[in-house]
């Protein structure tokens, strides 16, 4: 077996230039494939992370049916059954009570999304405090609001002005409240900026007449990649007839679909790239087999089994593939690491579009070993498939004809 490896390894250096050209073409294919996939994954990860950290979190717990019909009447109490599940990888449950209300100041009235939050926990997830442009952040005991800038403009209110909120509370009670504006936040998304109003959780529960109740528990995890498993475990632990547990993919399927569509497009481009490289490798293979049919004839004549000859050719191609793939990965690594740590800053117009959706206007590259390994497997699969050609040729080879040619 050793001599088979030795022969294969030495054979690839018989025509150094051809080997180097083939390996170089594989190297560039792997380099571009890794760079392209890392960029795409980085961009999407950034987008998903922004969206998740912006509002949704990686998963949420609601009363069963809430997501379908988002009503204050589907509020629930956080009991021991739920708090007992708060163990690794679940860092925290971040409570919210959310519903719509009419906000009024003087002659102006507007429908708003009034969200009751635990100020510190909410800030740990969404960095709400960082979005303050005026005033101060509220505390848990406050009876004051933090208002989005666009909504404040519409209602013509400023800090310390009073806002009247009117809504239908839990189980039909009248919800009416009067709150001072303590802080003003700005969201890049116009939609959020024109309708968001935050209250401390206790004040909001009192306003909605839903003491001790929440509509949403946002799950904060230290293992976001394992969120599917975490959700599955939670579904096992909680009574799913009472609660619904949804991960971010279930809550924002449009984003998932957009990502899949984008990835499908780039997969096609990637396969076209591989196809071009594949033809290059196949050309090398054709030449190798043609040039060496005399030698295969001799090897067959002196008693070398055909499968061993095929194995040599396969190993040669694999060696070239591995050399090219490793070189491509080595070439791509510093690039990917650089743009992971120094993301591409989007130009002004694109940046504004990103910010509108609450996404940081940068494109980092993702450094994911899976992307690198995938290239190795694709190259390995491709050359294995192509090695069928010389295997078939060797299996049909007539040693006399081969030596005569």
């Amino acid at each position: 077996m050793f001599s088979i490896f030795k022969m294969a390894f030495r054979n690839i250096w018989r025509n150094k230039r051809r080997t180097l050209i083939t390996a170089t073409s594989i190297m560039f294919a792997v380099f571009f494939a890794v760079a392209m996939q890392s960029l795409q994954k980085g961009a999407w990860d950034n987008m998903v992370s922004s969206v998740i950290n912006y509002y949704f979190g990686y998963a949420q717990v609601h009363k069963k049916g809430y997501w379908e019909e988002q009503s204050i009447n589907k509020a629930f109490a956080v009991n021991d059954e739920i708090t007992n599940t708060k163990k690794s990888p679940i860092e925290e449950y971040i409570p919210r009570i959310e519903s719509f209300a009419l906000a009024s100041s003087g002659p102006r009235t507007k429908g708003t999304l009034v969200i009751g939050v635990d100020p510190e926990l909410e800030n740990s997830l969404t960095d709400l405090k960082e979005k303050l442009i005026k005033g101060t952040y509220f505390e848990a005991s406050d009876k004051a609001v933090v208002i989005a800038e666009g909504l404040a403009d519409y209602l013509k209110v400023d800090l310390r002005d009073t806002l009247i909120l009117v809504s239908q509370g839990y189980r039909g009670v009248n919800a009416v409240g009067k709150y001072a504006v303590k802080g003003m936040v700005k969201f890049p998304s116009g939609e959020l900026n024109n309708q968001m109003l935050y209250l401390p959780l206790a004040a909001a529960q009192q306003f909605y007449g839903a003491e001790e109740l929440v509509t949403t528990l946002v799950l904060k995890t230290d293992q976001p990649k394992a969120i599917k498993q975490t959700v599955a475990n939670l579904r096992h632990e909680l009574d799913t007839n009472k609660y619904e547990i949804m991960d971010w993919e279930e809550m924002i399927p449009d984003l998932v679909q957009a990502r899949e569509l984008d990835e499908f497009g780039s997969t096609i481009v990637l396969w076209i790239l591989y196809l071009i490289i594949g033809f290059g490798i196949f050309g090398t293979l054709l030449m190798m087999v043609k040039e060496r049919s005399y030698e295969f004839g001799v090897l067959t004549a002196i008693g070398m089994p055909r499968w061993k000859q095929s194995l040599i050719v396969w190993l040669e191609i694999i060696f070239i593939g591995i050399i090219g793939a490793i070189a491509g990965m080595i070439l791509a690594t510093p690039l990917v690491l650089y743009f992971k740590n120094n993301p591409i800053q989007l130009p002004q117009e694109m940046a504004e579009a990103y910010e509108k959706f609450g996404v940081e206007p940068i494109i980092p590259m993702a450094f994911d070993p899976k992307i690198f390994l995938l290239q190795a497997f694709v190259i390995l699969g491709m050359v294995t498939l192509m090695a069928l050609y010389p295997m078939i040729k060797i299996s049909l080879l007539n040693p006399i004809k081969a030596m005569r040619e």
Binding site: E295, L299, I302
Partner: protein, 231 residues
Amino acid sequence: MKEIVIKASGVHKTYNETKVPVHALRGVDLEIEKGEFTAIVGPSGSGKSTLLNIIGGLDRPSEGKIEVGGKDISTLSDNQLIDFRRENIGFVFQAYNLIPVLTAKENVSFVMELQNRSKTEVDNRVKELLDAVGLGDRGDNRPAELSGGQQQRVAVARALAPKPTFILADEPTANLDSTSTANLLDIMARLNKEENITFVFSTHDRRVVDRARRVITLVDGKIQTDEHFKR
């Protein structure tokens, strides 16, 4: 009692690759005994190479039977023939046909390694044979670093290494100068005597014919003469 190594009975070979069939062999009957040093001669197209290919299991007869060591090889499959050749036949080709990426030592040991012989046995045999062909100091050279005569001596050592039943040499001296030819023939004659290995040559070369103890002349695919000499 004499041991028959090769026995050809009524061997015909017809090539039908063109519209007109070519009858390369027309009923060859032949027996070669162990330890013979035989040259098959004849003009071009007389069927020498065809007969050698059929004896060596590289080609099949259209009619007739070939037995090697009492075994009918005409009925073996292609893959069985490969195994058979590896275990029983040593080949020496006109163009040496060494494996260019292997050193002289590695070329000589190649078939033995295919046979999964022990490393000690392989190493001893390689040293013994390279010394015997006068290339003990060139074992680490690759074929391209050796002269034609030296390459052919390595080829002989490779053919002899696994101690085959017989050696088939197709025009082994055709590309060699007189000194190399004489040298090579000395080596083969010595090994033939010392190891009692059977040699069968196909040749045009008078110098080979002069050293053979048996000369078979083929004309138009038939044995015309079969002479024995005491040398």
